[in-house]
């Protein structure tokens, strides 16, 4: 059982997976569609927009062959609205994730993160998608010139992150009583960052609970041996 890695995805792994997200780019030069394992990419013809995976968009951006259109939620005004939602409306819980887009056929539909158009130019402006933290950080790092007011965006992203981390930590406090914390709307990176802390807390709580349980069992066993009847035991349980 000496697996060196902690369970679950590590933050770098989450960041890697997030590069599957689709983003909208405005190409600066022509490129035929590329036959890739994940399917054929659309043909690039400036100035028509095209939807590409983030990793390819970053590659083209670094070579200055494309501009990335930031998703609407990465706009300072939308981030500001979401931050207000987080601090004023949903004081206890996280702001709700984007709604699923309406679709015609319910067959063959994927409802998980990298396959939803949550980071393209027509994504919802008022909700943070699953990979918001990673995509935001990557775009701030690789394409700050394509963002609107990158410094404001950076500040708002940090504010949001701190507000939500605080909520996550506050949520742990109720775990002691065996309660449940709602994690709806929490992003992938937040989960993987919080995993070590939360699972540590729960483990320790279980350990504390386990020793208490252990001592209770022993006491019960002892009492049973001493010949107490069931009624008394029930009273004990009641406590």
């Amino acid at each position: 059982m000496a697996l060196p890695l902690p369970p679950g995805l590590t933050p770098p792994e989450v960041a890697f997976l997030c590069e599957m997200e689709l983003v909208t780019v405005v190409p600066r030069q022509r490129l035929e569609g590329l036959e890739l394992l994940g399917g054929t990419t659309p043909e690039l013809r400036p100035p028509y927009r095209a939807v590409l995976p983030l990793w390819l968009a970053l590659l083209l951006k670094r070579q200055r062959r494309a501009n990335i259109l930031p998703p609407p939620w990465l706009h300072p005004s939308s981030l500001d609205t979401i931050l207000r939602l987080e601090t004023e409306v949903h004081k206890e819980t996280f702001s709700p994730p984007p709604l699923f887009p309406p679709s015609n056929n319910n067959l063959h539909e994927t409802r998980s993160a990298p396959f939803l158009p949550s980071c393209t130019a027509d994504a919802a402006a008022d909700a943070l998608p699953y990979h918001w933290l990673e995509v935001g950080e990557i775009l701030l790092d690789a394409a700050p010139d394509d963002l609107v007011e990158p410094d404001t965006v950076r500040r708002l992203m940090r504010d949001l992150r701190e507000v939500r981390m605080a909520k996550m930590r506050a949520g742990v406090a109720v775990l002691d009583g065996g309660a449940v914390v709602g994690l709806k709307g929490v992003g992938g990176m937040e989960v993987s960052e919080g995993r070590a802390f939360i699972s540590g807390v729960i483990d320790n709580l279980r350990k504390i609970g386990a020793s208490r349980e252990q001592s209770r069992r022993e006491r019960e066993a002892e009492e049973r041996e001493n010949g107490y009847d069931d009624a008394d035991e029930d009273e004990d349980m009641g406590l």
Binding site: V26, R28, Q29, R30, R45, P46, P47, Y48, R49, L69, L99, F100, P101, P102, S103, A124
Partner: protein, 837 residues
């Protein structure tokens, strides 16, 4: 150049040495000065006697403002006091600050006094009721100067960190309108140099001293730098003021000079040697200017404006020195049917205490000379906009006279469409876009003596961006994959010219220029893959080949011409036709194939709703003419290759876009192109009418025919099927339109294989939409059988496979009767028995 004037007037010792300030009452009867001693002096204009002293005031006054009834002073001990002018006594203590007062400004109606102190907050206090105070809090450093605009709506704060904050006071809570950075310099609040903002009396611009010792004018509609009063002072500017009509500017600097500038030319017309001037005030009506020095002296300079420039001072309110005056441009464009602009100007006349009101009889006679050029050398004919008056006979009438006056005693004149160049914007500041399309964009910068033109492409691999100095001042341009076309207006002596520059060439030089006959102005140019089209004020359409050979010239039937657009061998010209029911001329278009000399559509009407204007006209990437009007609707011309059959079909109503459904967004769209079944445009926010710099991103919207007013599909999954009906109906109509266009294209040209496949695909698309509609009808109930059958009858498919599918759909929903009828229909079709019409 003006010589230094030797005649000197003597200063009157008014205060002890130290900063001294002054103001005239709006009626001009009194001049009030305040200085470092505890006395305020009230001089009566026109009398040389001793002034009245008001002694019960604070020491070290730093500001004084006045109305006809009272004046207000501010002092370094932080008090703002209000004095009555009837009794010359202290009336009340208006406001108290903890730190020294630096400036006071009074709103034009005298009801509000804005107070800047070394505190961060600027307080705007009501002079009648001092409990009513507004706070302006956005600035992070103390404010040095304040100034209200002539209407009293805006207040500009010159902050000591070098930023100008402009607030709007029209709302309940003052709102920050704009932060102007980089115009003024950082100055301590007690510095002698000035960073004051002075609003031009016409209210469209303000001036402020720059770190380079110039006075820069900036318009307050787009916050662009306009003309500057430069290289006059060798030292920092300490005070400056517009003359009451805005035709002259007086400035003083630490170089011990006082200068008078002519606003129109930004030249110095007189110099005076007076050191240490701290404040300048013009008399509201007379040729009299007063100023105070830091020695505590006040100078009242009668006849300061030399007699040869007196005519400037006598005029009504003059326009602010714009580089390209938007008003002058509208005017020069003739009798536009811009309704909004008319109102804009009338508001100006109605300003409660505009300078014309104050000037009374002197200014009364020529209220309109703001536009009408009375001295024969007016600004409308300035060298900067030499032409732009194509239709002189149409605009001798004062086009923008107040409406009441017009209807009373002027004969009726139709409103006409103004000529425009597709894809260009008007001047804003010293820049404009000459052309914006899907290939790239062309913009020009006015550098006073010449322009610089920059051409940039979206596809940087295919074309190389270029940039050139342009002595001809090109004002129109077209850009496509082959080359760039420019044209300029005739200037004195030089006829109009067009210039074509291909992007690629295998000879050394392929660009060429050609000139037009004298007196002929260019109204619009168009460039296609094979020809160049130039539409002129002589109503000619001149056609050139790509290498400059004149190909054809003919006269357009409708006149005056408005614009033109082209695609391959086709050209679409537009002109004003007969007057329609709404008092506006009907816009007429003609489409012609110049290669074959065939007229496709002759003098047909451009379908516009009442009072709407044409915003743009272009060919889509498949070669179908599209127009975008001021109501935000995009239309395409169906069947335009067959004479008499053309029909305008709406393909997108931008007012019904989903993004506007929330009602929170306030935006308009500037059309660029229709390509790949999408509408490409630039989103304009905040009441902008044209795109500006930095170049905004292109947005694209799917085409959507305005069919029903049902709300768009909500994101909720369960409900989306309820909206399927209207959505499919829209799909059906839209694909039918696309199919029509495609059919025409395939029939009229030597269609490629891919075009034929696409035609077949579009046919299937139409039937597919119908099939889905049929499924919905079948699901609803048995009663909808009649409609279901009608939907099946609409199917175009001749092979019978679609009808077979329809029959299956009906059978799946157990609509056996319907399935039977569909089978009958299919049999009749196969046998060719169905009667057409």
């Amino acid at each position: 150049m003006a010589a230094t004037i030797q005649h000197r007037i003597r200063g009157r010792p008014a205060h002890t040495p130290g900063p001294t300030f002054l103001t005239y009452t709006p009626d001009g009867r009194r001049l009030i000065t305040a200085g470092s001693n505890n006395s305020v002096r009230v001089y009566t204009t026109g009398s040389d006697g001793e002034p009245t002293n008001v002694d019960d005031c604070q020491e070290s006054n730093t500001a004084v403002v006045a109305t006809d009834d009272f004046f207000i002073t501010g002092s370094e001990d932080g008090t703002v006091s209000m004095y009555s002018l009837q009794s010359n006594t202290l009336e009340k203590m208006l406001l108290r600050c903890t730190l020294p007062i630096r400036d006071i400004a009074l709103s034009p109606d005298g009801n509000w006094a804005a107070v800047a102190s070394d505190e961060l907050v600027v307080k705007v206090v009501n002079t009648q009721d001092m409990t009513r105070v507004l706070y302006l809090r956005e600035q992070s450093k103390p404010v040095k100067h304040l100034s209200f605009d002539p209407s009293g709506t805006y207040i500009a704060l010159s902050c000591s960190d070098g930023v100008i904050f402009v607030y709007s006071l029209s709302t309940e809570e003052p709102a920050l309108v704009k932060k102007v950075d980089g115009l003024i310099r950082n100055l301590e609040t007690d510095a002698e140099a000035s960073s004051r903002v002075a609003w031009h009396p016409d209210g469209r611009a303000f001036a402020a001293p720059t770190p380079t010792k110039d006075i820069q004018v900036m318009s307050n509609s787009d916050w662009e730098r306009q003309r500057a009063f430069s290289s006059g002072h060798a030292g920092d500017i300490t005070a400056f003021a517009w003359s009451p009509n805005g035709a002259l500017l007086a400035s003083a600097g630490t170089d011990r000079k006082v200068l008078l500038w002519d606003c129109k030319t930004q030249r110095v017309i007189a110099r005076f040697d007076y050191p240490n001037v701290m404040a300048i005030a013009w008399h509201p009506t007379q040729n009299l200017m007063s100023f105070t020095t830091s020695d505590g002296e006040v100078f009242m300079y009668n006849d300061i404006v030399p007699s040869e420039y007196m005519s400037l001072l006598k005029k009504g309110v003059q326009p602010a020195p714009f580089i390209h005056d938007p008003l002058a441009e509208t005017l020069a464009n003739g009798n536009s049917n811009g309704i909004g602009q008319k109102e804009g100007l009338r508001r100006r006349y109605g300003t409660p205490d505009s300078l014309d009101d104050i000037l009374g009889s002197e200014g009364g006679g020529d209220e309109d000379d703001f536009i009408v050029d009375d001295d024969g050398a007016g600004y409308a004919e300035r060298a900067e906009f030499p032409l732009k008056r194509p239709y002189d006979d149409y605009e001798t009438e004062p086009a923008y006279a107040p409406l009441a006056k017009r209807t009373a005693y002027e004969h009726y004149r139709p409103r006409m469409h103004t000529p425009f160049q597709v894809g260009s914007t008007p001047w804003r500041g010293n820049r404009k876009y000459l052309c914006l399309n899907l290939i790239g964009f062309v913009w020009t910068v006015d550098q006073e003596t010449h322009h610089t033109v920059t051409v940039e492409f979206y596809d940087r691999e295919l074309h190389r961006d270029f940039h050139f100095t342009d002595p001809y001042r090109y004002d129109k341009a077209c850009l496509n994959d082959n080359g760039a076309l420019f044209s300029c207006s005739p200037t004195d002596g030089n006829p109009a010219m067009i210039f074509y520059r291909p992007h690629e060439t295998w000879t050394t030089r392929a660009d060429w220029r050609t000139t037009l006959p004298p007196q002929e102005h260019i109204t619009a140019i168009a460039l296609s893959d094979s020809y160049i089209f130039v539409s002129t004020t002589a109503n000619y359409l001149r056609v050139y080949t790509l290498f400059g050979t004149p190909f054809r010239v003919f006269r357009q039937k409708s006149s005056p011409t408005v614009t033109c657009a082209s695609w391959r061998d086709y050209v679409m010209t537009m002109g004003n036709g007969p007057v329609g029911g709404d008092g506006c001329t009907r816009l007429m278009y003609t489409i012609e194939n110049v290669k074959r000399g065939e007229v496709c559509q002759s003098e047909d009407v451009v379908a516009l709703p009442p009072n709407a204007e044409l915003r743009s006209v272009f060919f889509s990437d498949r070669g179908d003419p599209c127009i975008y009007d001021s109501t935000g609707v995009l239309l395409v011309l169906l069947h335009w290759r067959t004479p008499g059959q053309a029909q305008w079909a709406p393909i997108l109503d931008t007012k019904q876009l989903e993004r506007l459904a929330s009602g929170r967004k306030e935006e308009t769209y500037w059309p660029v192109a229709v390509a790949a079944d999408k509408f490409h445009c630039i989103i304009l926010k905040g009441g902008d009418k044209y795109p500006y710099f930095p170049r905004p991103l292109l947005s694209e919207f799917d085409l959507k025919i305005p069919i029903s007013s049902l709300p768009a599909a909500t994101a909720d999954d369960e409900n989306s099927s309820a909206n399927d009906g209207p959505r499919l109906e829209e799909t059906f109509v839209r694909t039918s339109v696309e199919l029509n266009l495609m059919e025409d294209l395939v029939n009229a040209t030597a269609a490629t294989h891919s075009q034929r496949t696409e035609l077949a695909r579009k046919e299937v698309d139409v039937d597919k939409a119908l099939l889905q509609l049929l499924a919905i009808e079948c699901r609803e109930s048995e009663d909808k059988g009649m409609k279901a059958l009608e939907i099946v009858e609409l199917m175009r498919d001749q092979t019978g496979r679609m009808l077979e599918a329809a029959e299956k759909v009906a059978a799946r929903f157990q609509r056996n009767m319907l399935a039977e009828k569909i089978r009958e229909l299919a049999e009749r079709r196969l046998a060719g028995l169905e009667d057409e019409d």
